[in-house]
Assembly symmetry: C2
Homo-oligomer: 361 residues x 2
C-alpha cells in the first residue's frame, strides 16, 4: 500500500470539521483505501460490481445439508431474473450483478449477466479424494483473476465477492481449519440452518477430508493430530484437495482486484475462506480486502481474525450470495466521501480545539 497516500489521508482526517478520530473505524478504512489507490482522496467505489461465483460440491453426497444440489442452478436462474436478495441489495446500493458459472453441476442456458467459465461440473467428494485436480484449481483461480480484470476494464472501481453453491460452507470450514489452525469444531457451523445431527455429521466430514488431504500433501507426515493445519503446504495444493471451484475463483478474484489496485469487498464465510487462500498465495492481497460483514458462521470470524480484518456490519446474517458485502458498500462509499467532500476547519471557519497543539494531543 502507498504509505504517502495513507499519511495524506490521516493528515486530511485531522483537518476536517469533526473531532479527531470521531469517525472510528471509518477513518482507518479511508486511510487504507487511500493506500490501495495510491491517492488521497481515493476514488469513490463506484461503479461497483458484484460477481457471484457459482459451483457445486461432491461432498453434498455426504448429507451435510438438507438442500438438494439442484438449488445451486435454480438460484443462478433467480439471480439472473433479479429475484434474489443480492439483487435487491445491489439495486439499493447501485451495484451491478454478474453471475459466473465456474462449476455448477448441470449445464446452464446462456443468459445476459451469466458468464460461463465452467472448469468442471462440480467438485469431487472431498472425503473420498481431492476436490479437483491441480490444473482445475489453477484454472478456477484464473477465472477469478480474469473476471476481476474484465470488470475493472469495464470501469468498476470496487469489486464485490458473491457465491452460490449448495454445501459450500463444508469446504469453507475445511479451508479455514487448514489455513488458520483453528479446530474443526470451532469453525464448522450450521450454514444455512441445519439440525444438530447434520451438524455433527458435517464436523465428521470435515475431519475426514482434512485427514485424507494430509496424507496426500507433500511435506506432511499424515498424522491425524489435533492441529489440522496444512497451511505450510503449497496453497493451491490445499485448495485442490479440500476447496471448491467458487472458492478458487474468489481467491483469484481477490488477487485480480489487488493486481489492478482496486479494493475488493468480501462477503461471508466462503469469501473468508477464499481470502485465506489468496493471502497464502500473496500476503499483500489481504490489504486490498475490506470485510463487508461478519456472518453468523463461526469459521468466518476465525478467517477475519486470521486476516486481521474488521467487518463493517455484524447482523447475524448467513445468506451468502454477496449480500453482506453489498449491504456494506454504502458504508465504504461514505468513508471515501468524507475525504472528498467534508470541509476543513480553515475552509469552514470553524474553531479547532486542537489547532494550538499540532502534535494532535
Amino acid at each position: 500500500l502507498d504509505e504517502t497516500a495513507m499519511r495524506a489521508a490521516r493528515d486530511r482526517h485531522d483537518r476536517l470539521t469533526k473531532p479527531r478520530g470521531s469517525l472510528g473505524a471509518l477513518e482507518e478504512l479511508g486511510v487504507r483505501l487511500s493506500g490501495v489507490a495510491g491517492a488521497c482522496p481515493p476514488p469513490l467505489p463506484a461503479p461497483a460490481a458484484v460477481a457471484v461465483f457459482a459451483g457445486d460440491h461432491g461432498v453434498h453426497a455426504q448429507g451435510v445439508t438438507p438442500w438438494p444440489q439442484e438449488v445451486t442452478a435454480q438460484m443462478v436462474q433467480n439471480f439472473l431474473a433479479g429475484g434474489a436478495v443480492v439483487n435487491a441489495f445491489a439495486r439499493q446500493a447501485g451495484a451491478e450483478v454478474t453471475v459466473v458459472d465456474v462449476g455448477v453441476a448441470t449445464e446452464l442456458p446462456p443468459a445476459p449477466g451469466l458468464l460461463v467459465r465452467k472448469v468442471a461440473n462440480g467438485t469431487a467428494d472431498i472425503t473420498q479424494g481431492p476436490a479437483m485436480t491441480a490444473d482445475e484449481a489453477r484454472r478456477a483461480v484464473e477465472v477469478g483473476i480474469e473476471v476481476a480484470r474484465d470488470l475493472v476494464a469495464a470501469g468498476n472501481r470496487c469489486l464485490i465477492t458473491g457465491d452460490m453453491g449448495i454445501a459450500n460452507t463444508t469446504p469453507s470450514a475445511a479451508l479455514i481449519a487448514a489455513f488458520t489452525g483453528r479446530s474443526v469444531e470451532g469453525v464448522t457451523g450450521y450454514g444455512t440452518g441445519i439440525d444438530d445431527i447434520t451438524h455433527a455429521r458435517k464436523i465428521k466430514v470435515v475431519h475426514t477430508a482434512l485427514a485424507r488431504a494430509r496424507t496426500e500433501l507433500p511435506g506432511h507426515d499424515g498424522s491425524d493430530g489435533a492441529d489440522p493445519r496444512v497451511a505450510s503446504a503449497e496453497p493451491l495444493a490445499v485448495l485442490a484437495q479440500i476447496g471448491g471451484l467458487e472458492h478458487a475463483a474468489i481467491a483469484g478474484f481477490i488477487l485480480g482486484a489487488a493486481a489492478q489496485g482496486v479494493p475488493v469487498l468480501l462477503d461471508g464465510v466462503i469469501a473468508g475462506a477464499a481470502a485465506l487462500v489468496a493471502a497464502a498465495l500473496a500476503r499483500g492481497a489481504r490489504d486490498y480486502c475490506v470485510a463487508g460483514h461478519r456472518s453468523a458462521e463461526p469459521g468466518h470470524a476465525a478467517a477475519l481474525w486470521f486476516l486481521e480484518l474488521r467487518p463493517l456490519i455484524d447482523l447475524e446474517m448467513r445468506l451468502g450470495e454477496g449480500t453482506g458485502a453489498v449491504l456494506a458498500l454504502p458504508i465504504v462509499s461514505s468513508a471515501v466521501r468524507v475525504l472528498h467532500e467534508v470541509a476543513t476547519f480553515d475552509s469552514a471557519g470553524v474553531a479547532d480545539k486542537d489547532a494550538a497543539s499540532p502534535d494532535g494531543t
Copy 2:
C-alpha cells in the same frame, strides 16, 4: 404496532428464496417496520429526512469540553453550506438535511435549510439550577413534534435524528443516568475526545447536576444515594432540570414520528438520551425507533440496552450530527426491499428444503 402486518412479514420472510432466518437482524427489522406501517411490505424509507437539532448548554461554563461554545453556531453554518460529515453521508444515502435552531446561544442569520425555532439562547448551567423552565421544555418538545409533522407532510417516509451542541454529551449522561439507573461513572464518556482530567470533572459535574435536580423534583427525598434514578418523577420535569433543548426537541421528534406512524432512525448518545425521555412520556414510542448505530460513548450503550434496541452499525463512531443514523439508512432500505422485491420459492421455481415441514422445523 400492527400484529397482523408483523405476522404477514414473518410469513413472507419464510417464503422468500433464502434459508429461513438467514438475514438475521434484518428480518426482525423488516417485521418491526411492517408493524410500524401497519402493512407488509411496509413503504420504502424514502424520501428520508434528517433533522439536525442545534442548541447550546450553560454547563459549558463548567469546563466539560475543550471546544468553544461558538462552534455550535459555526457548525450550523457548515451544515447549511453542505460541508459537514452529515451532509456527505446524506448525499450518499439520498437523505435531505434540515437544521433546526432550537436553542443556539447566538442569533443565526436566516438561510435555506435552517428552521429557526429558538426556544431560548441555550440552557442554563445544570450544576446551578434547572436547564430550562417547564414551559421551555414543553415548547422544545413541541418544536420536535412539529418538525416531524411537517417533514412527514412533505412526503418523507423516514425521519432521522441529528444533533449539534457543544457540551451536549454532559446533559446526555445526566439524562441517561436518571432514566436508566446506571451509575454516572458508567454512562459518562469522553465525548468528542477529552482528556482524563476533563473527564473526571465531567463526571463530577453530572453528579452535581443530578444531586441538585433531586432536591427540586417532587416525590424525591433529596438523598445523595448511589442510585441516581429520578425516572419516577414526571419525565418533562427531569428533562427541564438536567436536559438540553435539542434533547427535548429530539424527544418530540420521536413522539411526532410515532404519532404519524413513520419510523425514526436514531443517531448516537444524544438521540439515545432523548429516546429515553420520549419512551418515558409514551412507552410505545420506542417501537418506532430504529437504532442506527452504537456510538463509542458508554452512555449510548446503556440507553440502547434500556430501550432494548439493537444498533445496525457499530464502528466506534462518536461524531453526532446524525452521522451514525444516516449511515444506517441504506441498511434499513435494504431490509424493506427484501419484502418488496425478493422472489418466493414458488415464483422462482427454487426447491424449498422446508416446504415439507410447514411448521418451520
